[in-house]
């Protein structure tokens, strides 16, 4: 089925029973989305929005009340769809008595006749080459995240589902994982990435969907969602008395002889630059701030 989307979710509903009386709590309220082949799709939402529940439904760990899920045109519970999928859970935990190498070998046997990637090559890819004989109980949180990514890539999947893949990683680790995700896209793989770290999503995703309280409030291409209009300009100035600068905008901070100003009116930016030149002041930085995904996200969550 070459024309099928990598992932198609239609009208997905899921509720859980809670308490002694079994009161129903609706977690997903009719989610519909398509993930196209070869794109990195960001699935955004605050804590408790239903991101992990959606992922669990896709993987068949939860049974939806209503709705359909297809992976490359196959039902999400079929062997064909599972053979094409890789999954990295949030806060991964594995069999701590196994070594990294034993663990990958065990999981590779679950694919039976399907060809899997070489465990050593995968350990090398995720930066755990020197820890192949270390028991997983001795792994740090970041190392567990890496081995979790390695197991998700074992079957060289066409669709990679990542639940908070950058959580618990240091800045270097985050960059490395981001690079691996971008590399997957280069290889034509599709990545479905659930996260609330907007900065990372903004850096790597082609399209995003925003989930709030179990409903999708927006979805589309990042450049369509985020306006390029300048919201305000931040400028750092020195050698000028800050009281003289206050007529141009708001002073955010003042340290030493430097002042950080926030200017909303674009005309005032030209004026302040002229003023600084006349007063023989110095401009240390000038940053026009456009709308970010965070602005959109916070706005929508508040609105909901």
């Amino acid at each position: 089925m070459p024309k099928a989307n990598a992932l198609e979710i239609k009208n997905l509903h899921k509720s859980f029973k809670s308490g002694f009386l079994g009161k129903k709590i609706k977690v997903l309220k009719g989610i519909s989305l398509d993930v196209k082949k070869g794109e990195i799709f960001g699935y955004l939402g605050p804590n408790g929005a239903g991101k992990t529940t959606t992922l669990k439904c896709i993987l068949g760990l939860l049974f939806p009340d209503k709705g359909t899920i297809n992976i490359f045109g196959y039902g999400h519970l079929s062997t064909q769809s599972k053979q094409k999928t890789g999954f990295l859970p949030e806060n991964p935990y594995f069999y701590d008595y196994l070594t990294a190498s034993e663990f990958l070998n065990f999981y590779s046997k679950l694919f039976h006749k399907q060809k899997t990637q070489n465990p050593d090559a995968l350990l090398n890819l995720v930066g755990l080459k020197d820890n192949s004989t270390t028991q997983l109980r001795k792994f740090s949180k970041g190392m567990l995240q890496r081995i979790a990514l390695a197991q998700a890539l074992l079957n060289d999947p066409e669709l990679v589902l990542l639940d908070e893949p950058l959580g618990g990683l240091d800045p270097i680790g985050r960059k490395e994982i981001r690079d691996i995700i971008l590399d997957l896209k280069q290889k034509g793989k599709t990545v479905f990435l659930s996260s609330h770290i907007l900065q990372d999503i903004e850096m790597i995703c082609d399209r995003v969907a925003i989930l709030v309280n179990g409903s999708l409030v927006n979805q589309g291409r990042l450049d369509e969602l985020v306006s390029q209009e300048i919201l305000f300009t931040e400028i750092t100035v020195s050698k000028i008395d800050r009281r003289e600068l206050e007529k141009f905008g708001k002073t955010l901070t003042h340290y030493g002889n430097k002042s950080l100003m926030q200017i909303y009116d674009q005309d005032k930016v030209d004026e302040i630059l002229q003023f600084i030149k006349e007063k023989k002041g110095e401009v240390h930085s000038l940053i026009p701030r456009t709308q970010t995904l965070e602005d959109i996200f916070v706005g929508m969550v508040k609105q909901k």
Binding site: F87, Y93, L98, Y107, L110, H112, A152, N155
Partner: protein, 254 residues
């Protein structure tokens, strides 16, 4: 292949469990105690060693099956290892079968070790081992398979502590339900007799696996009794395993 992979991993996990070795140690101690007990007894000392030894073997085997079996699936869900495992192309039934077989392999090895110690003690005392002892041990193993499937079933939806209580209750009821059979014979026809008969049919009768009397007193083992017990064990285990698969197949992993 997939079932084998899960079974092997379960075996690796179970064999690392310290409780297994603790039970093995106590089993060995109880075999030695049975030898000491025989010294205090008037009559055939070998009978006492075999009787007490077989009982210890059965009890410690059952304890191993329950204590490890009840945690089998629960641990996978609690520690969320089941999330990544079931996201691979393995069915839930294959997972349950793998878990069951993994523990059965572990119990088989433990039973072999316990039997080896038991046989050494018998050989040191009498110098011979009756073939009937092997039959009896075979049925102890069959009983362990059934208890494991029960523990696995409870483990699919309950916590290890509750599952252990349920499984132990199953074991105790199973060894006491034969009393109902005697009761039915003495009851006059009526609704009470029918209800007792239904209860007897539904409740497990684990005395079917008890061939201790035949071994200890060297009585003949009737082929029909042997075959009935064998098929009873296989069918019951199969039924409970099916039930465990059904429960596991329907459950959500929240």
């Amino acid at each position: 292949m997939k079932i084998r992979a899960v079974a092997l991993n379960t075996f690796k996990e179970a064999i690392r469990d310290r409780i297994l070795y603790l039970l093995l140690f106590f089993a060995a101690v109880s075999f030695i105690l049975s030898r000491l007990l025989s010294l205090l007894t008037v009559g055939d000392k070998t009978k006492i060693i075999i009787d007490a030894g077989l009982s210890s073997l059965s009890i410690f085997g059952v304890l191993m099956a329950i204590l490890m079996g009840t945690g089998l699936v629960y641990k996978e869900i609690d520690k969320k290892t089941v999330y990544t495992l079931l996201s691979k192309p393995i069915s839930r039934n294959q997972f349950i079968l793998g878990k069951f077989l993994g523990l059965i392999i572990t119990l088989f090895i433990m039973l072999l070790v316990m039997t080896a110690i038991f046989f050494i003690i018998i050989l040191l005392h009498s110098g011979t081992i009756s073939w009937k002892l092997f039959v009896s041990l075979g049925f102890v193993f069959l009983e362990l398979c059934l208890i494991t499937s029960v523990a696995l079933l409870f483990s699919c939806f309950s916590t290890p502590i509750l599952s252990s209580i349920f499984s132990l209750s199953f074991y105790l009821i199973g060894h006491l339900s034969w009393g109902l059979e005697t009761l039915i014979k003495k009851m006059s026809p009526g609704i009470t007799k029918i209800l007792t008969q239904v209860a007897y049919t539904l409740l497990p009768d684990l005395e079917n696996f008890n061939f201790k009397t035949e071994v200890v007193h060297n009585l003949p083992i009737q082929p029909e009794m042997f075959l009935f017990s064998f098929f009873y064990g296989i069918t019951y285990t199969f039924f409970i395993l099916m039930l465990a698969m059904l429960v596991f197949r329907k459950r959500d992993f929240i």
